[in-house]
Symmetry: C2
Subunit: 307 residues, 2 copies
């Protein structure tokens, strides 16, 4: 009913990180792309196959050292329904390998529609009297702009199926302040108000490690706000994007952790996925390069957190 | 580069409405569900086939009198990749029948990821040197919580490919005020600030009817705010949900229109799609019932707007 399963994976691997799977075709080594083109032909089908092969190798290489993966839905939807099929296969394969899967879909809607999203990603779909998993992930990122109507259908399913959500609070991008930093008449900020809502939405689902099923997305690129929110929201687990390529460092990300070294998971997408490009190693060693970068990141974060 | 194509369809059909396609299996007549089960078997594949058959008949029945359809992405994603394939087929079929297609996905992200969504829904995906449409809709609903970084990739594609977006400003649901109605220190509201951003994001894409490619979602359930925003945002076209089942009436929705009877399109999903249930007619006449309700709604709105 909370994020305990994620926290336990983090404790087991001693690694509070998540590997983002944002597999745009141009990031995938040429030999995989060529083989997919030969096997499945061009077009979206061939692209989706290349993404699947790439993801599978990355998962195989990371599953014993990284607790979770975060496929970013946009990079699958851009390959149409073939890409979405690869998203489903990726989720199921990562889970089979013991990983916790956070779908980064930033979904948002209300009532029956939000219930449909909740069922799609965290629950089951009833068809002709039988229940089937449409995607069956472990957690989903969501946008809270519509208020409680858009969150309750999710928390219901989280509590029932032992799943979690992460609500966008203070995002890692440059323009996040345009709306999120606006000051309210009571002196709080828009992101602070959404943070408070996360606390309320999660209040009745606090698990054995002190964290609820309603997490928050807070960027590593804003360490001040990360520290402020960590203090203000003791029961809200953080998903921290913006580490690596976006400029956030280990020291900044460390502000999101509690005194026990828990309370957050830090995402790295391109730096891990495309480590073979940074390393300039043989592209056939892309999965090995991803593992080396994941281990480096783990150490950097552990050092920063223990300070 | 703006919403001119939608506006022209509205003028041609003299009907400022859009039919929402939210085809949850339980809304679909039994004879279609049974036939799909026989043809494709149970599970998500059979469900997605039933949805496709239903949508096709609704589109055939409405295409000469209703300018646009709005498939709600959640109701396709809940049937997994099979459902997403039906979403694609629905978009392409509606366009072939002359309808303007607004995908209601409320997508949101930043930079390269938002670009992936923009390409997926409004642009093309490049694969092995060839360009393919992943979904190829005409417009997409989006959430502006992340600021300009999340919108620019969309407006670029809108200007290039003659497409549009609708940003959530004041949503139709009960709890929309929790965040959206909060008062800022300058006396404005959160929804007002997002409305202003829509004006700015659209400023360089104003078409021949005075409206830009950046529309706004404003609920019929809040006529006061609808009137306020109509006055404040003369170049922002409105997509108005909340009419019908959610309790918004024609008179409320009319507040979103300008003095020429343009400037907005009003959505009705369940009341049109499930008109056969309200009418209590033979379920085999479901498409006819949808057409009768669409014509009734058109008249109600035209009366309310002309007042």
């Amino acid at each position: 009913m909370s994020l305990d399963r994620l926290i336990e994976r983090i404790t087991e691997t001693k690694n509070p990180t998540v590997a983002g799977l944002d597999p745009k075709l141009e990031f995938i080594p040429g030999f995989i792309r060529e083989r997919s083109f030969e096997e499945k032909g061009g077009g979206l089908k061939g692209a989706a196959h290349a993404v699947w092969k790439f993801n599978k190798a990355i998962i195989d290489s990371l599953c014993d050292i990284v607790p979770a993966v975060k496929p970013q839905s946009a990079y699958y939807e851009m390959y149409g329904w073939h890409g979405v099929r690869t998203l489903y296969k990726t989720i199921k394969y990562a889970q089979k390998k013991g990983m916790y899967v956070i779908v980064d879909g930033k979904r948002n809607d209300i009532g029956a529609t939000m219930e449909a999203y909740a069922n799609a990603y965290l629950g089951v779909t009833e068809v002709f009297g039988e229940e089937t998993e449409a995607f069956g992930a472990d957690a989903l990122t969501v946008n809270g702009y519509l208020g409680t109507d858009g969150i309750l259908p999710l928390t219901e399913i989280c509590k029932k199926n032992d799943k979690g959500i992460f609500v966008l609070v203070k995002t890692s991008n440059k323009s996040s302040g345009e709306l999120q930093d606006k000051i309210l008449e009571n002196g709080s900020t828009v992101y602070g108000a959404v943070g408070d809502m996360c606390g309320e939405w999660g209040a009745d689902s606090i698990g054995k490690y002190g964290y609820s099923c309603v997490g928050a997305v807070v960027g590593a690129t804003y360490p001040g706000q990360l520290a402020e929110l960590r203090k203000k929201l003791p029961h809200t687990f953080f998903l921290i994007p913006g580490y690596g390529v976006q400029g956030g460092g280990g020291e900044g990300a460390a502000k999101g952790f509690d005194e026990n070294g828990l309370g957050a998971v830090v995402n790295s997408s391109r730096a891990v996925m495309c480590a073979y490009l940074n390393e300039k190693c043989d592209e056939r060693d892309f999965a090995g390069a991803a593992r080396r970068e994941a281990l480096r990141m783990k150490e950097e974060l552990r050092m920063a957190i223990s300070k």
